[in-house]
Symmetry: C2
DNA sequence: CCCGGTCGGTGACCCAGGTCACACAAGTCC
DNA sequence: GGACTTGTGTGACCTGGGTCACCGACCGGG
C-alpha cells in the first residue's frame, strides 16, 4: 500500500477528521506516519515518554497496569477506529504514560507527532473536540473500572469481560489465562467459575475459546 | 463581604486566572457567582447535571462513588484553591456527574456558568490550560486510585489515607468510621488495624482523632 | 507416532477482611 | 446524675478468592 493510500484509509477510519479546516488537515496529512506493531510488541511502557498521538487503524492493543506482584488490571483495549486516549493524557499533561500497552495482534497505527498535536490543539476547535471526545470517554471508563475493582465480585467482572470479548456469534477466542489477566485474577479461579457456568448451561468451553450459550443468563449471573 | 471583594478573593485564590486576556477575565468576572454549602450539604449527585464550573474557595468537599451495597470509595477531596475536576468532565463530555459530592464542612465556591465555560474554552488558550491542568491531574489521580483498590492491601490504603488526612502536627481529626468510608471498608476493621498500630507505637488514638507518632514507620508499614 | 509446550481441571489449604453481636467509655442534654 | 448519642474495642465466625501441587488432555513439529 502506498503512503498516499494509507493516508486515505486513515481519514476513512476517522471521519471526524474531515471536520478539520483544509489547512489543518493538510498539516495532519503532511506529518502523520504509520507505525506497525507485531503481535506481542510493546506499544509503550509505564512511565515512557509519548512522542505521538496514536490512533488505531487495524489490530488491537491492550492497555493495563501491573502491580509489583505481577498481577494486572486491564484499563481498556483499543481497536480499529479508536484512539489511544492515554497518549492524550500524556500530551496534555506533559507527563509520562500512566500505564503500559502491548499489541495483542499485528497492529497498524496512525501517529501524529507531538508538534502537530500541540499545534492543532491550539488552533483547531474541531481537532480539540475530536481529541477530547475520546479523552472524556476514557475518563468515564475509568469510573466504571473503579466501581468494578472496588465493589464487584470476581464473577461479575468475569462475566463482563467475557461478554465484551465475545464476537457477534457469542464466541470469545480467549484462554482462561488471558481472562484471568484482564480481570486481575488467576487462572485456577477463572477455570472454576467457568466450570460452574458450563455446568449451569450458560456457556460452553473449548480449548482456547468460550462460547456463550445463554447471554441473558450470563449477564444476570454477573449482576449479583 | 461585598461581591466585588469576593471576586477579588477568587482571583487571589486562582492566580492562574490572571493569565486570561483582560476581555476574557472581564467575562469571567461578570458571570461568576459564589454559592455556599453548609457542612453535609450535597454539592452534586451521581448522574446529576452540571450547570457550573466549580472552584473551591474555602472548606472541603468529598467526591466519592457508592456501591449498591452502600460502601464507598473516595475519589478525591477538594480544598481551597482546587477545582472540582468532575465538573470539567461533565462540561467537556456533555454528560452527567460520574460520582457524587458532599461538603465536609461549610464550603464556599466560585461558579462559572456553562455558557461562560464553553465560551472561554473555545476562545482562550490560557483558560484551556488552566482547566486542562486540573483535569489531567484528576486523570492521573484515578490511575493511582485504581492501583490502590486493585492491588493494595487494606493496611496500605489506610496508612495513605491517614497520612493524607493528618495536619502538619500529625493529627488527623477523623473518626474510624470516616476513615473506613474513605477506603471503602468498615469500622471494625479500621479499628483493629489502628489498634495494632497503636500497640506498635506508630500512632496514638484519641476519641475522634488519630495522632501520628512515627510517620516514617507508618509509611513503611503501609508499603508491604 | 512420540515428545515437549500450551491449555485446562481439581482438590487441599490459607488468609484478609467483612459480618454479627455485644459491651463499654465519653460527651451532652436535660 | 440519669438517659441518650456517638465513638471505640473485641471476640467468634464466614467466605471469596488466592496459592500450591498436581495431572491429564490436546496440539503441532520432527
Amino acid at each position: 500500500m502506498t503512503d498516499a493510500q494509507k493516508v486515505e484509509r486513515w481519514i476513512d477510519r476517522f471521519p471526524l477528521l474531515q471536520a478539520l479546516s483544509p489547512a489543518h488537515l493538510q498539516i495532519a496529512r503532511g506529518t502523520v506516519h504509520f507505525p506497525v506493531l507485531d503481535a506481542g510488541a510493546v506499544a509503550y511502557e509505564l512511565d515512557g515518554e509519548c512522542a505521538n498521538y496514536l490512533m488505531c487503524l487495524e489490530g488491537r492493543t491492550r492497555i493495563f497496569r501491573m502491580s509489583e506482584g505481577g498481577r494486572e488490571v486491564l484499563i481498556y483495549k483499543v481497536g480499529p477506529g479508536g484512539t489511544c486516549a492515554l497518549t492524550t493524557q500524556c500530551l496534555l499533561s506533559g507527563g509520562n504514560f500512566p500505564a503500559q500497552s502491548i499489541a495483542e495482534e499485528r497492529t497498524e497505527l496512525a501517529a501524529l507527532p507531538v508538534s502537530t498535536f500541540q499545534h492543532l490543539m491550539g488552533e483547531s476547535a474541531a481537532f480539540r473536540s475530536f481529541v477530547m471526545d475520546d479523552y472524556t470517554r476514557l475518563m468515564s471508563g475509568l469510573f466504571t473500572l473503579i466501581d468494578e475493582v472496588a465493589f464487584a465480585p470476581l464473577k461479575q467482572r468475569l462475566a463482563h469481560r467475557l461478554l465484551a470479548e465475545a464476537d457477534p456469534r457469542g464466541v470469545a477466542a480467549v484462554t482462561h489465562q488471558k481472562l484471568a489477566d484482564d480481570i486481575g485474577s488467576v487462572r485456577e479461579v477463572v477455570s472454576r467459575i467457568l466450570g460452574q457456568w458450563a455446568e449451569a448451561g450458560l456457556i460452553e468451553v473449548r480449548r482456547g475459546a468460550v462460547e456463550i450459550v445463554d447471554r441473558a443468563g450470563l449477564e444476570a449471573t454477573g449482576r449479583k
